[in-house]
Amino acid sequence: MKLDPRTKLFLAAVANGMIFTAPLVYSLLMVAVASILLLLEGKWKFVCIFFFVYLSAGFFFGQVKNLDIGTSGTIILASLFLMYRIMPACVVLYYVVTTTKVNEFLACMSRMHISNKVTIPLIVMIRFFPTVYDEARAIGNAMRMRGIRLFSLRTLKSPVAFLEYRLVPLLVSITKIGDELSIAAVTRGLSAETKRTCVATIGFRWVDFVVCAYCIVVVVMFLLRN
């Protein structure tokens, strides 16, 4: 099931818009498409984990809503709630980032006559997440050999130190990744002036129409709700 990158962008845009302006139901509608698409890609593990976390978080907030927990408690709860509201957008973004190939994306952007100056940073972003994930995995491995695990007495005693061990090397390598990617672009001949061709075939097919129509229906429903 291959979607055109333009459809994916549209999907991501609508999902983001819904999450910040519309009631919960609308973002759930977007989650539904994204999960179906992810399931079709065979990423059922991710979908299961997401629904588990999302539903239990929803349940948790339902329980906690009427309790009186003081100011600091409310602040923490509010930020958790914000994360909870953003989660649907993350699923959609996850779908877009993990299933879009670099060359398809480049091809569709050039078909929309968008300058490389805009496209290349976007591409670097798409390429950035999996690289960071890979890096984080390597660092996590190194930590585990040292006996620094999330679920251990030591982490419980000093969670800040754990975060430091985990994040500092990651930040160092993230700065490196950015540099490496821009160097890679130059040596492989990708720059603002290149006129490129593409072996991937892109184009709208019926799936794209279905997904776009769905998104439009959701938007219209939202606009006409009262």
């Binding site: 050999m145 492989r188 001949g189 290149t194 006129k195 072996v199």
Partner: protein, 424 residues
């Protein structure tokens, strides 16, 4: 005009030149940027896939490739664009010897097609027949220049004193055998204590070895990457783990160290105490100072013991330095130090000598020998025959996730070289 039209370059670390997430796109990427038409690109890609034998790597995510496989893709994707000038920075660092032979063929094909090829390299033997000129760079200047035959005529000792790797694998092997005999007769100078260590080790070897059983693993449920019933590592010795690219060596290392595998395998690994020194040691160092690095893994933190460990690794004067400010070899030693301090008996190294010149290789070899002499059991993944002949006592060969051979090194040197180069 963009320089990438004329010059195709392969970096030392293939990761830093990938721009795509999957192999197919990566191979076509350079051509697409040149604006070739799609039919032509497909033809080019098909050609390099055949030349480099990449059929099994098509359609994979580049994050899921082994080190050598990444390097092959990097070389192939540059080759596909067909530039006039090729600049390769240690293209063979992670390749097995058979693939290096392929690489050699490809380089000579480029040469025939009138391309200019510049290769920065430590391994010289495969370039013996293809290179026209060898330049030796020192302090930023070309200090010497030879034809390959000239350099070879000067003899192995001359090359070694410049820090160059051997020019001829067969000779290397004979040389090693001769040297070994000499060691048996007369023990001399500094080699003396290593040699006697070796003898001690051999004496104790008969007593013990560590046995791993049921090492199986698969990334996806389809087919197993690892399928080993029994692996035996002689205690206090250095064992080399060899095998073709993608054989599953790094995977085995991670399973042994409890980074991959089932919950049961992980628990067994934790109990046993196995430590992995990764190829990219930068991933393994994350504190502010060398001393902290060693203290981190200790159960009761004992500064005196930590300093002793650093002393043993010649790092005492750097105890307060930031680990990232050290040289590559020093970083590796810091990582080893952290392994020792976490009390592991088995230390696994993933390609510790790839991309090192002869001198640095000897330094690593000396460190490992010292470590083995202190009673640790070492398993070293490597594609470097010179290193194996220099420091290992036994060899394990893997093929497609299985251990196919296991033998002590002494007496089997010729066999080792032959299997590694795929001439058997």
């Amino acid at each position: 005009m963009a320089i990438s039209r004329v010059v195709g370059s392969v970096f030392q670390n293939p990761r830093s030149q990938f721009f795509n997430i999957d192999t197919d796109c990566e191979l076509a990427f350079g051509c697409e940027n040149l604006g070739m038409n799609p039919e032509e690109i497909k033809q080019h890609v098909e050609n390099v896939v055949q030349e480099f034998h990449l059929e099994h790597l098509l359609g994979r995510s580049i994050f899921n490739l082994s080190g050598g496989e990444k390097q092959k893709i990097a070389c192939a994707s540059v080759s596909a664009t067909g530039p006039e000038i090729f600049v390769l920075d240690e293209p063979s660092a992670n390749l097995d010897l058979k693939t290096i032979t392929d690489l050699k063929e490809i380089v000579s094909r480029w040469k025939k097609a009138g391309k200019t090829v510049v290769i920065v390299e430590h391994r010289l033997y495969y370039l013996r027949d293809v290179a026209d000129r060898i330049c030796y760079v020192k302090d930023g200047q070309i200090a010497e220049e030879w034809m390959p035959a000239e350099l070879e005529a000067k003899g192995a000792a001359y090359a070694a004193c410049l820090g160059l790797r051997c020019m001829n694998l067969e000779q290397l092997c004979e040389g090693m055998v001769r040297q070994a005999h000499r060691h048996d007769d007369i023990a001399s100078g500094e080699i003396d204590d290593i040699a006697s260590d070796k003898n001690n080790v051999i004496a104790s070897e008969a007593k013990q070895s560590i046995i791993f059983s049921n090492l199986t693993f698969s990334y996806h449920h389809k087919h197993p990457i690892l399928d080993i019933d029994r692996l035996e590592l002689p205690c206090g010795q250095i064992t080399a783990l060899i095998g073709h690219n993608g054989a599953g060596k790094s995977t085995l290392a991670q399973v042994l160290c409890g980074l991959l595998g089932s919950w049961r395998q992980k628990r067994a690994a934790r109990k046993r105490g196995t430590y992995l020194i990764m190829q990219d040691v930068n991933h393994q160092l994350f504190t502010e100072s060398v001393l902290d690095e060693v203290l981190l893994g200790m159960k009761p933190q004992d500064e005196k013991l930590a300093l002793e460990i650093l002393e043993g690794l010649n790092l005492k004067q750097y105890a307060d330095n930031h680990p990232m400010a050290l040289s590559g070899g020093q970083k590796q030693r810091v990582a080893i130090g952290s392994g020792i301090s976490s009390g592991c008996d088995v230390v696994v190294f993933d390609e510790p000598t790839s991309g090192l010149d002869y001198r640095q290789m000897l330094a690593v070899s000396a460190t490992l020998k010292k470590l083995a002499a202190s009673g640790k059991t070492l398993l070293v993944i490597t594609h470097d025959p010179e290193f194996i002949l220099n420091s290992c006592q036994s060899v394990v060969r893997m093929e497609h996730g299985k251990v196919v051979e296991q033998y002590p090194l002494s007496g089997n040197e010729n066999q080792l070289i032959k299997t590694m180069t795929g001439k058997l």
